[in-house]
């Protein structure tokens, strides 16, 4: 399954992440905030979630914690505009499979997404 959830309140970021991954055969679902993301997680299954940390309604950490609990097999990629945000993730012991500091390019997100899903699954899909 190459289905990924992209959570970010910044339209431009969601837009290019979606298109960057879609052109590589991913099915991309977008969520514009924390509530939207939690709703998407309840109704669907994803191989990975790409999640921003700073959003107006919920802190990304909350979404990630909840996702990690309800979808243990799903890989999580954190994207953020500031390094200091990342340090807050270390403390609650959330296991993110990877993170990217904005601004990041399309190849960076493609490479990371494909890496965290793992070779096995990838080859099966191709």
């Amino acid at each position: 399954m190459k289905k990924v959830l992209v959570v970010d309140d910044e339209d431009m970021v969601r837009n290019y992440v979606r298109r960057a991954l879609a052109s590589r055969g991913w099915e991309v679902v977008e969520a514009v905030n924390g509530a939207d993301a939690l709703e998407a997680l309840r109704t669907g299954d994803f191989a990975a979630m790409i999640c921003d940390l700073k959003m107006p309604d919920t802190r990304g950490e909350e979404v990630i914690k909840e996702a990690a609990a309800s979808k243990p097999g799903m890989k999580i990629i954190v994207i953020t505009g500031s390094v200091s945000d990342v340090s807050s993730l270390i403390e609650p012991g959330i296991a993110a499979a990877g993170f990217l500091l904005k601004p990041f390019g399309i190849d960076e997100i493609r490479d990371l997404a494909e890496k965290v899903i793992g070779e096995g699954e990838m080859s099966g899909e191709r």
Partner: protein, 516 residues
């Protein structure tokens, strides 16, 4: 004297008033008479007087009471008390109330005249002291000193020569010296006068007809000087300059009184210069505090800004790259988009550098690649270097071991050293940065970083002071004097070392040892 002093004489006896008036107006003083204390107080509130000569025993308001009143109106006026029956008690009382001196009646006119002269002299000194010490701007002080010296010692020329960074004397301010040739000859005189400041090196040197003195033989242009008083200027017991006060051939020689005056004046000047220095240090400390405030504000601003900018920047980068994928690499669009992409990378680098510099409150060591830290610092100051036409030469060693350091603080040290180097070369120059693997004196592995500039270098006499807090050679408001001391503090905390030398071809070299 050029300035006709304004004197008020207070006595109830008409004959004494006339006697004093006759003796003093002959000498050119302007005399006003008052017949009792109340009259005197009234006149002094209406007009400015330099000196009062006042009887003690008067009907109505007596002299002692009037003295108190007068000093309330004008604390600067000098007062000579005249005592008729000469009780010591009243004399002492009047001195306590601020009288300059007292005269016993009957007195000789010559006694009166010499006391008046001394009182006016004191008055003049007070004026000058006030002028010198009330100067808020240290920059104006040399001019005031020279003007005062000309007035007090009735000189034809006066100048202040201060030692520059190279230790050579240069004329800071002068009066009565018009041509460069005159100035050069006076400087040469000062350069040769060293031995004449007495055994302690602090006394006034008196020269008479220096052209005929073998110590000064061959100094051109000094034959016009008849008499010269040279006052050493001292800072922490070291001579830092000379105040020279000269009379030319048409004038009288300086006499014993003049020398006394010069001595007093010299100590005033030294005090005032010291005050000015302290004042400057105070200002610098203030600007350092302001700077620290700015840094903390910058840190907060940078943090918030980075977040706000990185999001849209990410969008620009991603979308640009998406469009690039569908663009013909041969076309103009492709080139333009590539430029946009590069600009985003540059923005990213600047923000990262700004963040690393602004966040420096915590001391956290990690393995640091010294060359990388240098590169980041250079990114931050590249523009300023370009503006000042400073060329950066990188001589980075390959395969350097990682050092144990706080990345941000290391950057702060580099930035400080690079900024100093740049400021030392206002007219362009180059900075050579060398990094090498090395060993410290205790055998520990380290990385050596040296930053060499092509500026004027560090004079030997200040080399051991440059790391002192508040020591600076930059102009007021430009340097805080804390940069290098902060560097030293940071490097010490890293267990490293920082030293300064002069480069082989001039310029300064700062060398850091950073333990692995």
């Amino acid at each position: 004297m050029t300035h006709k002093a304004n004197i008020i004489v207070v006595d109830d006896e008409e004959s004494i008033l006339e006697l004093i008036q006759a003796a003093l107006s002959r000498l050119g003083y302007r005399i006003t008479c008052a017949h009792d204390g109340r009259d005197a107080v009234k006149k002094i509130s209406a007009e400015k007087f330099d000196l009062a000569i006042m009887d003690i025993m008067m009907p109505g308001m007596d002299g002692i009471t009037a003295l108190g009143e007068i000093k309330k109106i004008d604390p600067e006026i000098e007062v000579i008390m005249a005592t008729g029956h000469g009780s010591m008690g009243t004399a002492v009382q009047s001195m306590r109330k601020g009288a300059f001196d007292y005269l016993h009646k009957p007195f000789q006119p010559s006694q009166l005249v010499s006391m008046v002269e001394r009182a006016l002299e004191k008055r003049k000194f007070n004026d000058i002291t006030k002028a010198i010490f009330s100067t808020i701007k240290p920059d104006e002080l040399p001019r005031i000193i020279i003007d005062s010296a000309m007035r007090i010692l009735k000189a034809d020329e006066a100048f202040l020569a201060l030692a520059g960074r190279d230790g050579r004397l240069g004329i800071e301010v002068s009066d009565g010296l018009d041509s460069p040739g005159q100035k050069a000859s006076r400087l040469e005189l000062c350069a040769r006068v060293t031995g004449r400041f007495g055994d302690d090196g602090k006394s006034v040197a008196l020269l008479e007809n220096p052209a005929g003195d073998k110590d000064f033989s061959g100094v051109k242009g000094i034959e016009e000087i008849k008499s010269a008083l040279l006052l050493p200027l001292l800072e922490d017991e070291r001579r830092t300059g000379i105040l020279a006060i000269n009379r030319r051939q048409k004038e009288e020689y300086f006499n014993e009184n003049d020398i006394q005056r010069a001595k007093i004046f010299g100590s005033l000047v030294n005090l005032a210069l010291r005050n000015a220095n302290l004042y400057r240090q105070l200002q610098e400390t203030q600007s350092q505090l302001i700077q620290a405030e700015k840094m903390s504000a910058l840190g907060q601003l940078a943090g918030g800004l980075a977040h706000e900018i990185n999001n849209p920047l990410s969008g620009i980068l991603g979308l640009t790259q998406l469009v690039l994928e569908n663009t013909d690499p041969a076309g103009q669009n492709f080139t333009d988009l590539k430029d946009i992409e590069r600009a985003v990378f540059r923005c990213k680098k600047i923000i990262t550098s700004l963040l690393s510099f602004a966040r420096q409150e915590k001391f956290r060591t990690e393995p640091v690649n010294v060359n990388e830290a240098l590169e980041e610092t250079l990114t931050l100051c590249a523009r300023q270097m370009e503006l000042k036409l400073v060329k950066i030469n990188r001589d980075f060693g390959g395969e350097l071991p990682m050092v144990k350091a706080d990345f941000q603080q290391l950057m702060q040290v580099f930035l400080n050293l690079l900024t100093n180097a740049r400021d030392s070369m206002p007219e362009s120059g180059s900075i050579t940065i060398t990094t090498r693997a090395a060993h410290m004196r205790n055998g520990r592995d380290c990385v050596n970083v040296s930053i060499a500039d092509t500026g004027p270098g560090i004079p030997p006499e200040i080399r051991n002071r440059i790391f002192d807090p508040f020591f600076t050679t930059k102009p007021v408001g430009k340097g805080t004097g804390l940069g290098l001391s902060v560097c030293l503090g940071i490097i010490n905390r890293h267990g490293g070392a920082i030293t300064a030398q002069s480069g082989p071809g001039g310029g300064s070299v700062f060398t850091l040892e950073l333990p692995v």
